[in-house]
Symmetry: C2
Amino acid sequence: MTRRLSLFGATGSVGQSTLDLVRRDGDSWQVAVLTANSDVAELAKLAKEFRPAVAVIADEARYADLAEALAGTGIEAAAGADALVAAARAPTDLVMAAIVGCAGLAPTMAALEAGTPVALANKEALVSAGELMTAAARASGAPILPVDSEHNAIFQCLAGGRIEQVRRIILTASGGPFRTMSAADMARVTPAEAVAHPNWSMGAKISVDSATMMNKGLELIEAYHLFPVGLDRIEILVHPQSVIHSLVEYVDCSTLAQLGSPDMRIPIASALAWPDRMATPCAPLDLAGIARLDFEAPDEVRFPATALCRAAIAEGGARPAQLNAANEVAVAAFLAGRISFPAIVDTVRRVLDAAAPATPASLHDIFSVDASSRAAASHFVDQYEHA
Amino acid sequence: MTRRLSLFGATGSVGQSTLDLVRRDGDSWQVAVLTANSDVAELAKLAKEFRPAVAVIADEARYADLAEALAGTGIEAAAGADALVAAARAPTDLVMAAIVGCAGLAPTMAALEAGTPVALANKEALVSAGELMTAAARASGAPILPVDSEHNAIFQCLAGGRIEQVRRIILTASGGPFRTMSAADMARVTPAEAVAHPNWSMGAKISVDSATMMNKGLELIEAYHLFPVGLDRIEILVHPQSVIHSLVEYVDCSTLAQLGSPDMRIPIASALAWPDRMATPCAPLDLAGIARLDFEAPDEVRFPATALCRAAIAEGGARPAQLNAANEVAVAAFLAGRISFPAIVDTVRRVLDAAAPATPASLHDIFSVDASSRAAASHFVDQYEHA
C-alpha cells in the first residue's frame, strides 16, 4: 500500500536521509510535499525526482526562482511561512518535521492540529512549545513519532509496554568531545574543536550543543514532553560510544534498550514504517568488533547545561523557550569567535536570570519569548565581547 | 483479579523465587498446585503457607509422609509421575514449569495440550522434545513464556515487533569461569572450580554447563524452537558481565536488548505478569556503577559445545535429545570426579557419533532416546575412567 509523505526540511541532513530511504522503497511512498529553507536548486532537483504535488521554499524572495525551476513540471511552487502552514494542513499520511529550529514550529503544529501523524526531528519546536504541541496532539489524536535517536530508542523500548509500567527512562549521552577535559582547558577550546563530535556526523549547532551537553538537556525537555513519566524519572547516563541510544527500566527491574550504528537512517526508518518496520542499508551492529561499552555518571559541575535544562522544565512556562532561544544565539556567537566555550551556558543562565516571561498561551506568545530572549542573549554576548 | 498458578518444581531455585514473588503479591494469586521431587518437608511447609488444592511429590515412596504432613489441612496429597500429569491437566491460569531435566517433560506437555499458558523454566524439556512441545502449543494455542533469562530477554525484545521483522537474534553468554583459560589448563580444572559461576548463583549442573558453554548450546536449541527465525539467524555473543541478557536485531538494523541485574526474579516476574508487568524487589541496574560492558566472539575451538549443539539441531530428529541426555550423564560423571572437564563434551560427541536413532514421534520415543543415550554415555564414561 502506498503512503503519502510530506517532508518539511527536505534539503537538510534528516531530509536527505529520509529521501534516501524513500528512494530505496519507492513503491511504498508517494511524496506529497517537499519544503526547503533557501536552497532552491536542491529543492527543485528533489521535486523533479520525487514529484510532490507542491514544493515550498520558506524564503519568499526565492519564489520566482522556484516557480521558474518547476515550470512545466506540473508541480506547484509556493513560498513563505503561510505556504508552509498550508502545505502542512494538506491531507497526507505522515509529516516528517525536519526543519531546524523554531521555524519548524508553525507547520508542525498545523499538522498535529489536522490529526496527521508527525515524525518529529525538530527538537527545538518541542523544547520551546512542548505543552502546546503535546496538547494539540492529544486533542486531535495525532501520534508524535520521535526521530531523535535517543527518543526513538525510548519509543521503541516502550512498544511492548505501557507508560505506567515505567520506573525510569535513561537518556544516554556521548559526553561530547570534551568529556574528559578540565574546566580550565574548556575555557580555551575553539569552534573547530567543538564541532568535531566523536560519534555522529552532524551540523555545527548540534555538535556544539553536544560539546556543552546542552543537547542532552534539550533532549531531557523533549523526553519530558514525549514520555509522561515525570521529570524525576528521567535520568542522564554518559555512554561515550553512543551504541546504546537510550534505555527504559520497568517496574519489574527489566530494562529495555535500543542499540544501533550511528546512522540517522535507523531512527528515521523506525518512524517512517511505524508500527511496522522497513529494511535499511545500514550497517548491522557488531558488538564483538566494538568490544567494549562504557558508562559513567554525568559531571554537572564541568557541564552545567543539563542541570539548567532540568530546572527550566521543572519551572515550566516560558523557561524552556527562553533557554532554547538564548542557546541558539550563544552558540552562533561562539561559532563566530565572539565568546568563549564556557560563555555559551553562562549566557543562557544570564538570560534566564534576567527575566521571567509569562507562560505562553499561543504560538504567538512563544515567538515573543523567543524574540525577547534572543535580544537579551545578544546583549550579554556584546558584554562578553567588550569585557 | 486473582489468577490461578500451578507451580511444578516448587522447592527448587526457580520455584522458590516464584513463591517469593507470589508471597509479595498475594492478593493477585491463588496457588492451585505445588509439586516437588522428593523434599516432602519443604513441600508440606509451602503447601501450608500457599494452600493449593493439591500437592504432588514425584517420588511415590514418599506419598505416606506427604499425606501425613498434610492431614487435616484440606490439601490433597498425591504422588508419582501420573499424579504430576493429572495435576498439570487441572484448570489453572498459568503453569510454571520449573522441574529440572526430562522429568518435567510429561507434565509440561500435559499443560500445553490442555491449552494452559506455560512459563517455561525447564530447558531440558524443550531441548529434548522441542518439536513435540511447540507442536502441542500451536495446536492448543497455549503461549510458552520463556523464563530462562536469555529467552525471556528475547521474548521481551519481540514484544513490540513481529518475528518476520527479525534479522538476527543474539544470545549472550558469560563465557563461564574458564573464558580466558588455555585448553591445557582446562584439562586440569576441578568440579569446585567449574561450579563457581562468575555472575549467577545456580545449581551444580547448570554451572558446569555454563563452564563448558554447553548451556549456551542448549539455549541455542531452545531459542531455535521458541523463536522461529531460522538457525542461521541465531548467533552467540560472549559478554562476560551478563548484564545484557540477549538482543534482537530487526530488519531496519535497530537492535533491542533486555538488561538487568543477575536475579532470576526479573524474568520470572516478566513471565508471571505477562502481558502486564509486576513490581519486584530486585536491584535496579546501575550502569554507571558497573562502568563497563565487554563483548567478544565465542571461541569454538576451546569451547566446542556450541558447535556441537548447532549441528545437533540442524540435523534435528533425535539428535538434541541424545545430546542432552549424554551431557547430563557426562556432567554428573565430572562432578563425581570420574572424568576430566574436556571429557564432558567429548563424551557427548562420542554418543552422537555412535548411534543415530530415528526421529521421535512421541514422548515415549523421546524417553527411549534419552535412556539409550544415557547408557551409551555411561559406557564412554567407564572407558575414560579405566583408560
